[in-house]
């Protein structure tokens, strides 16, 4: 045993899904009386690791030990019996039961087969008192704010099993005051000897709260560090897998300040999904990069522009005209196109063929009463397949049989057929092979040269630097820094992401 008084010790934990390695050989030790952060970008394997610890998944290899004894939790209940409880990002309590009942469901005090409600309510009140929460425990859970519900969930977790408490992004729906209260409670728990593992994307919180941290990337552990001894820049580069001193990539042609009205302009834009006061403008032929950590608001900007979320404040202007999209259909009619982040669920239409997937947006634009003739369809599909170098033996194949990179190209072809003026790409290169990756970057440059405006959200800083002539760095759902022209470099973007509030 390497660590002193490790409560939870993982050794060489592996988890595969259909041959794809999600968690590879991860070691982790969690000590009594510490708050430990688990960090990593999307797909780093954090969630899978947590699900392995809490018994949702069975590991394919490695050992999990509690107080030196190997365990193999088969369900969340089983994990709870071993002293591990979890609080999820979404409050997993029951809105239709009272607060007291939620706290003690399945553990109600009974006498002669009857639940002792009076005792249960007394216990509940006493338990919440420890969290300085003075509320009516007989009210329905749903009558309290998400913040209070989150605290109730933590109270239940701690009361069920106080050894190890795992919190999966507990602050995602809390405001700063509520976060402060939560942290105070977590510190108290730590001082009482509980080991706390917390997943969060907010670096400020990591530094404010945690004692040690573990970074994961691509299913592997990068390292465990003492928080206070790790500079922010180093943490960000560990998370993103980029050294700050990395060499600069070749950059796209310089942005020239033109006197034309901007093709797209956002003024103090706020939307219903939480982004606040976003300002930027883009000319025809610009490629705007959206950078930032997960949860920083990259995708939310894309969604707001495409009419998926409603604009609450500020305005968007398309050329001279104001633009206020209420639905994607409206956005498409105004010349927008969006290749979504989650290709599998939001991008491709599974049972349909490659051809049908490709023409679907163009057909929708024409209207159902003007169907594309089959010969026209075939020609469009053949042209696009050639232009985008899509590897596909037969366009009548279901799209699911294509590789990720080719699927992404089909989605791109779908939107290019609608001749958009503004093309929004959310993580266009996620999960695709190197060859397709390079081709998509080439295509982005080519489309810009043809005068299309592109907005690209990506966690790959290197690729953003390669083609953008303006990079917007997002943090906390706000625009933190705009880097344009000559100033664009990986270092500048990394520094802007790491910069404290």
């Amino acid at each position: 045993m390497s660590a002193q008084n490790a409560v939870l010790q993982l050794t060489g934990v592996c988890k595969r899904f259909k041959g794809v390695i999600a968690v590879n050989n991860v070691d982790l030790d969690l000590r009594a009386g510490e708050i430990h952060a688990l960090l990593g970008e999307n797909g780093a394997g954090k969630s899978t690791l947590i699900k392995v610890i809490t018994g949702v998944y069975t590991p394919d290899g490695g050992r999990i030990e509690i107080d030196g004894a190997a365990i193999c939790p088969k369900s969340t209940l089983d994990a709870q019996k071993h002293g591990i409880s979890t609080v999820y990002q979404e409050v997993n309590l029951l809105p239709n039961l009272s607060v007291a009942h939620n706290l003690y469901l399945g553990r109600e005090p009974r006498r002669f087969g009857c639940i002792q409600w009076k005792k249960l309510q007394r216990d509940a009140r006493a338990l919440l008192q420890r969290f300085s929460l003075d509320i009516d425990v007989n009210e329905l859970l749903s009558s309290y704010s998400i913040a209070v519900q989150q605290l109730i969930a933590i109270a239940r977790a701690v009361d069920c099993a106080a050894k190890v408490v795992i919190l999966d992004e507990p602050t995602a729906s809390l405001d700063s005051r509520e976060v402060g209260l939560l942290f105070q409670i977590l510190r108290t728990l730590r001082d009482q000897g509980t080991a706390i593992l917390i997943v969060t994307h907010f670096l400020d919180q990591v530094y404010a709260l945690t004692d040690r941290l573990t970074v994961m990337r691509n299913g592997e552990k990068v390292g465990t560090f003492v928080t206070a001894e790790l500079p922010r820049e180093a943490l960000v580069s560990h998370m993103l897998g980029k050294e700050l001193q990395a060499m600069e990539a070749s950059r796209a042609s310089q942005h020239t300040d033109s006197v034309d009205p901007a093709a797209l302009q956002l003024r103090e834009l706020s939307s219903s999904n939480g982004i606040r006061n976003i300002n930027f403008s883009a000319q025809r032929g610009d490629a705007i990069g959206l950078a930032g950590l997960l949860g920083s608001g990259r995708s939310e900007v894309c969604a707001a522009l495409f009419g998926l979320d409603s604009v609450t404040e500020g305005e968007i202007r398309l050329g001279e005209a104001p633009y206020k999209p209420r639905s994607p259909a409206q956005a498409i009619a105004q010349g927008f196109a969006l290749c979504p982040e989650d290709r599998k669920t939001d991008g491709i239409v599974h049972p349909l063929s490659v051809r049908e997937n490709m023409i679907i947006a163009h057909q929708a634009q024409r209207g159902w009463w003007r169907p594309l003739r089959r010969s026209e369809q075939n020609k469009l599909v053949a042209d696009a397949t050639q232009r985008l170098k899509i590897v596909c033996s037969d366009p009548e194949k279901p799209i699911g049989e294509l590789s990720g990179g080719n699927q992404q190209k089909v989605i791109l072809a779908r939107w290019l057929m609608t001749h958009p003026q503004i093309l929004i790409l959310d993580e266009p290169t996620r999960g695709i092979d190197i060859g397709a990756h390079a081709e998509i970057l080439q295509l982005i440059r080519k489309l810009c040269a043809e005068g299309m405006t592109l907005i690209v959200a990506s966690s790959e800083i290197e690729e953003l630097v390669a083609f953008s002539n303006k990079i917007l760095v997002m943090r906390d759902k706000r625009l933190s820094t705009t880097i344009a022209g000559q100033d664009i470099s990986e270092n500048a973007v990394l520094a802007a992401i790491a910069e404290p509030d």
């Binding site: 029951l94 809105p95 039961l97 469901l105 329905l140 405001d175 005051r177």
Partner: protein
Amino acid sequence: MNRRTLPVTVTGILFVLLLIAGAVQFTGFASPRVILNLFTDNAFLAIIALGMTFVILSGGIDLSVGSVLAFSSVLCASLIQVHGWHPLQAFPVVLLAGACFGAAMGIFIHVYKLQPFIVTLAGMFFARGLATVISEQSIPIEHSFIDAINNFGFALPGRGWIGSATLILIAVFIFGTWLAHFTRLGGYIYALGGNANSAALLGVPVGLTTISIYTLSSTLAALSGIVYSCYTASGYALTGIGLELDAIAAVVIGGTLISGGYGYVLGTLLGVLTMGLIQTWISFHGSLSSWWTKIFIGSLVLMFMIFQRWISQGLTGRRHGPDRIN
């Protein structure tokens, strides 16, 4: 006013208003005899509806109950009349058959992750078919013990009568209330209806709870079949067609949210009594066809659905802000 209990209160007020309106219009409408007859005449429906309450509370549905009632009544009549069993021997067998049938449906729903609607629809056809296989004709029951059951009861002033059916209904009602509010299983049933996913993560034994729910519903349907065959002194395979829909209507009128999670056993009893009272009002009226009952009940169900939508928006929409944190 507590929003959780508001729907039940509304049903209670509706019942009282209907009673007052009837009493003003017709003499003898609000007499103990008429009111107690509501219990006697609707006991079999009420017992089924109480079982249905738990199914709907858990977010499910049970379409098989009408057929299970028919099957139970035929089985009961056949065992007593054709095979010469004593009713006290026949009743446990019928109840056990009902319980097994419900447990099987519960297992299918849980293990194969099937829609309760489809599984109980299959159960509905299956039980009806089985009942017809036992006997296509109505089997009259002639047994001194059944007569004794039917004659058992207490006289109340005002020519009121509390018979065995009413007593069984009251027992089932007390059992249901205890189950819903004083047992862990009751909490689990509400939990499943609130959010099955969260319930599982909180350690609710989802499979066991699901199987218990459908076992309970079918057992109560079988009990209802026994009550029905005593009440009519016969067993008939084509009885109780569409009864499951009456039971669902009673549950909805009783204020239980059709999507599960919110509702009370008391509400269902009030729902059945309200439906019975409408029927009574129409028979007192004399000139209206009894089919008008259906029109009234249809309108009531619709009104309650809209009312529930409004309430449930309140239940999920209204929150105390973070100002409640100290």
